[in-house]
């Protein structure tokens, strides 16, 4: 093998390894940043945290409940003054911190973005990735460092077969969202 080809091959392997290490380092730093922001936000009252999620980011109460892992009734009680457990309060703070980070990553409407599918034609939404603890993937997606298919590769290896939708939502003749088979 010519020397120059061998040298480029060696360099390429080193660059790939370096890219993986830098990528992991960046994700670890993002995770740490989210933790620090969350700890600061957890000093706010649950009512203020909920107000930021609902009034500032436009999340529905059912979405907030689902992302925090409680019932809608539990969220309702927090709105009227009941105190969540320290773990739930931190989970609320984490969600606010995550949406703040998205906004800083130039996602114009983080609350709206969360509801969108990662890739058209496949089931998972950004919301689903957050629910399964993959805020790291979402930060990379939002900043454009990861494509939708790369994110799904990390989310679930068999996503192309397992998560493909056979149907789609469309606006029917009466103007109402309806469901039909794709194609």
């Amino acid at each position: 093998m010519p020397t120059v080809t061998w040298q480029f091959g060696e360099l390429r392997d080193q660059a790939t390894a370096l890219s993986m290490r830098v990528g992991q380092g960046h994700r670890d730093a993002q995770t740490k940043t989210l933790e620090l922001l969350s700890e600061g936000l957890a000093r706010l009252s649950p009512r203020d945290l909920l107000r930021r999620l609902s009034d500032e980011y436009g999340l529905s109460w059912s979405t907030i409940a689902d992302l925090i892992g409680v019932s809608v009734q539990a969220v309702r009680k927090w709105r009227t003054g009941d105190a969540p457990s320290p773990e739930r309060r931190l989970a609320l703070a984490r969600l606010v911190a995550f949406l703040d980070v998205l906004e800083d990553s130039s996602v114009g409407d983080p609350g709206g973005w969360l509801e969108l599918p990662v890739m058209q034609g496949y089931a998972p939404t950004h919301f689903d990735l957050y629910k399964t603890g993959r805020a790291d993937l979402l930060c990379d997606l939002a900043s454009g460092r990861l494509s939708g298919s790369d994110a799904l590769d990390e989310y679930q290896a068999d996503w192309r077969e397992a998560l493909r939708l056979e149907n789609e939502v469309f606006l029917a003749e009466d103007g109402q969202p309806s469901i039909r088979r794709i194609g």
Partner: protein, 180 residues
């Protein structure tokens, strides 16, 4: 239990249609635990009352006058995921076709969002009205009517996934402005 889809429950004036489709809810011999495999003739309702398991029976359905449905007698209300699962099972019962749950949710998402915002609006509007006030029902109806007027120009945007959060923000800002 009401089976009528939310978008076909009300007429153009927001009032319930005279008759709605319902199904019988009965105690279940099953102790419902996830995942609910099979049992396609029912919608499991685990621990519905005092920890006891119930089920909605798709083979025992019919219509009832909507005036007989008293909200004060409501025992439970499905959340968004429960509503989607009910629709999925109902469709499967009639057709044996399994529609993907995320799509069923997306097709109803604009109605669920509107219902939730109406609840927020009504709560704020009636926050200072005693529940035993003689005109409580009229005030509730008035609040619903004002909500309908405000939502009017934004309602179509609720059908667009990426716009839904913006509509929620606008409605909640209006609620905060009217009832600080």
């Amino acid at each position: 239990m009401i089976l009528t889809h939310p978008c076909t429950m009300r007429g153009p004036n927001g009032k319930l249609y005279p008759r709605l489709t319902v199904g019988r809810v009965a105690p279940s011999s099953q102790a419902w635990r996830l995942p609910w495999k099979g049992h396609f003739k029912v919608m499991p309702l685990p621990e519905l009352v005092d920890g006891s398991h119930y089920e909605l029976r798709f083979e025992e359905t019919g219509t009832v006058p909507s005036v007989d449905l008293n909200p004060q007698k409501r025992i439970a209300c499905l959340d968004d995921i429960g509503l989607t699962l009910l629709q999925q099972r109902h469709i499967n019962h009639h057709t044996r076709y399994v529609v993907e749950e995320p799509l069923l949710h997306e097709a109803s998402a604009h109605l669920l969002a509107e219902a939730e915002l109406l609840e927020d609006w009504s709560e704020a509007a009636l926050a200072r009205v005693p529940e035993d006030a003689a005109d409580w029902a009229e005030q509730l109806e008035q609040a619903a009517s004002e909500f309908d007027a405000f939502l009017g120009p934004h309602r179509e945007n609720l059908k667009v996934t990426a716009q839904r959060a913006r509509v929620r923000r606008e409605v909640r800002h209006e609620i905060a402005r009217r009832w600080p």
